[in-house]
């Protein structure tokens, strides 16, 4: 190629690049403008106000100072509630594990018996995931009465939705070759699942279940707000009676519990995965 044509080729390429970049910048600008508009609109809707926050800081500070110092003698009385919180989380997660094993196989495209079953299962799981544990707890308190039993069921249902969906996605992602090999030996459908699919997903399943346990402990601390047992109940009782120092103790205990559970669950997950 001669020098003249080479130069003009380069010039054309540069011009094209400028045009492409301009188009990309315009697209970015349009999306950004849209995002800013959405944020502005929603800020108005929720009456976002830094001014109110600054003014409210005074009230918040007042509130916080009333909480301090936390009544440490109250700690001993919270022991039972703390234990109850953990027990709720443990059994909620355990029930979720039991329920999600069959549900995850039904909700995975490659192991479901029928496409209709697949869609129904996914719908059910989405419903369980969409509804907060607190909402379940409210309904169950009406159904089975106050106390931690309602809490366990609430935790269990929501966790089942999360765990089963995660597991179903893992099942859909297994190495098909290993599954084909098991089929080739003449194994039944169930045997293929046991030996071809399950070993590929068990560590991730356990790891996620431990994560759900951690999250459940966190949720279980507030279930008591609606009467479903645990520390939340003590918290709301003390608040209603304006016993602020005891409220602070509750918050402190909740904070420590979440911290410890986080640390333990983190360690366990690392051992499994």
């Amino acid at each position: 190629m001669s020098a003249v044509t080479f130069d003009s080729a380069v010039a054309r390429a540069l011009e094209r690049e400028v045009q492409v970049r301009r188009r990309r910048h315009l697209k970015l600008a349009a999306w950004s403008a849209l995002a800013v508009a959405a944020l502005w609109f929603s800020a108005l809707q929720i009456k976002l106000s830094p001014v109110a926050l600054v003014r409210g800081a005074g009230y918040m500070w007042d509130f916080i100072t009333r909480l301090f110092p936390p009544d440490l003698s109250y700690l001993a009385l919270l022991g039972g509630a703390t234990v109850e919180t953990v027990q709720i989380a443990i059994w909620g997660t355990l029930l979720a594990i039991i329920l999600s094993i069959p549900l995850s196989f039904l909700g995975a495209r490659n192991t479901t018996p029928h496409i209709l079953v697949f869609h129904l299962t996914r719908l059910l799981l989405n419903a369980l995931r969409a509804i907060n544990e607190l909402v379940f707890a409210l309904i169950f308190v009406s159904a089975v009465g106050l106390g931690p039993f309602a809490g366990v069921l609430a935790v269990a249902l929501h966790a089942t939705g999360m765990l089963a969906k995660f597991c179903a996605e893992e099942i859909e992602g297994v190495d098909k070759g290993q599954v084909e090999a098991q089929m080739a030996t003449g194994a039944t459908h169930m045997q293929v699942i046991l030996f071809g699919v399950a070993p590929q997903i068990v560590p991730q399943f356990i790891g996620y279940a431990i994560y759900r346990l951690d999250v459940s402990i966190r949720s279980a601390t507030v279930l008591g707000l609606v009467g479903a047992g645990g520390l939340g109940f003590a918290l709301i009782q003390n608040m209603k009676l304006f016993k602020y120092h005891q409220t602070a103790t509750c918050i402190l205990v909740i904070f420590l519990l979440v911290l410890v559970s986080d640390w333990i669950c983190g360690k366990l997950r690392r051992k499994v995965i």
Binding site: Q178, A184, P199
Partner: protein, 263 residues
């Protein structure tokens, strides 16, 4: 084109086997093959020739659209035959080994016995004493028993394939189907694996159907060769009969060439 009957009995017959996906993809266009008992039969052809499809039709991992497969005097293509009974007669060895990575070598071989165990007993990953003996014996035959308790994914490629052969042996099959068993292995290991495959099947009187695309291995190991190209059989004979012209026919078949009835 069928070779006149020899002294060996025919253990597998394929007649007019065809497999199409939709109206456009014809993976197999009428295959006629006779497999003799105990032989090491290599199916040679380029990728896309239909070798894998053919093999998977034999153990019904893929259902053929037309044709018959007769094994041990019984037609296995009819829907009434239980898949389990059909599949356990065929031990399959895959290019990607397809061992269950997280399970131990021994457990992997034991999965070859699943067709003989009821679902309920396998629920607890339990195998009978007899199964365990068979599995360990098969492992010993491919000299992998010293790694019996290691996780399958800690093994090298050649070792994994030997374990896969042991798994196929554990089924006590009549025929082993090896689908490109050495395509992922380097030459020295590949020859070692093929040697094990041939030797062990001879010892146990098992027929082997082996898909290969490498001509050198075919010449070295095959007792009989079937050449496939674009879904049809284009050659049948021994290694000495595999001339350059025939190789050309297998590998460079003219796409405009009409289906030649004189084959």
């Amino acid at each position: 084109m069928l070779v006149p009957a020899s002294t060996k009995t025919t253990v597998l017959s394929v007649r007019g086997l065809a497999k199409s996906y939709g109206n456009s993809v014809h993976a197999l266009r009428g295959i006629d093959i006779d497999v003799r008992e105990g032989e090491f039969l290599v199916i040679l052809g380029p990728s896309g020739a239909g070798k894998s499809t053919l093999m998977r039709c034999l153990n019904r991992l893929v259902e053929p659209t037309e044709g018959k497969i007769i094994h041990d005097g019984q037609e296995i293509t009819s829907k009434s035959r239980s898949l389990r009974a059909v599949r356990r007669q065929f031990g399959m060895v895959f290019q990607q080994f397809n061992l269950v990575k997280r399970l131990s070598v021994l457990t992997n071989v034991l999965t070859g016995r699943l067709a003989y165990r009821s679902t309920w007993r396998s629920l607890f990953y339990n195998f009978s004493k007899e199964d365990k003996h068979i599995a360990i014996e098969c492992l010993a035959r491919v000299n992998m028993d010293h790694k019996a308790f290691q996780r399958a994914d800690t093994l090298s490629g050649g070792e994994q394939q030997r374990v896969a052969i042991a798994r196929a042996l554990a089924q006590k099959p009549t025929i082993i189907l090896a689908d490109e068993p050495v395509a992922s292995l380097d030459p020295k290991i590949a020859r070692q694996v093929l040697t094990y495959l041939k030797q062990v099947s001879h010892e146990l009187g098992i027929t082997v159907l082996c898909n290969l695309h490498q001509v050198e291995y075919t010449r070295e190991f095959a007792e009989r060769i079937i050449g496939m190209s674009r879904g049809k059989v284009v050659f049948e004979g021994t290694a000495t009969e595999l001339t350059e012209e025939i190789l050309h026919r297998i590998y460079y078949r003219d796409p405009d060439e009409k289906d030649d009835k004189s084959q």
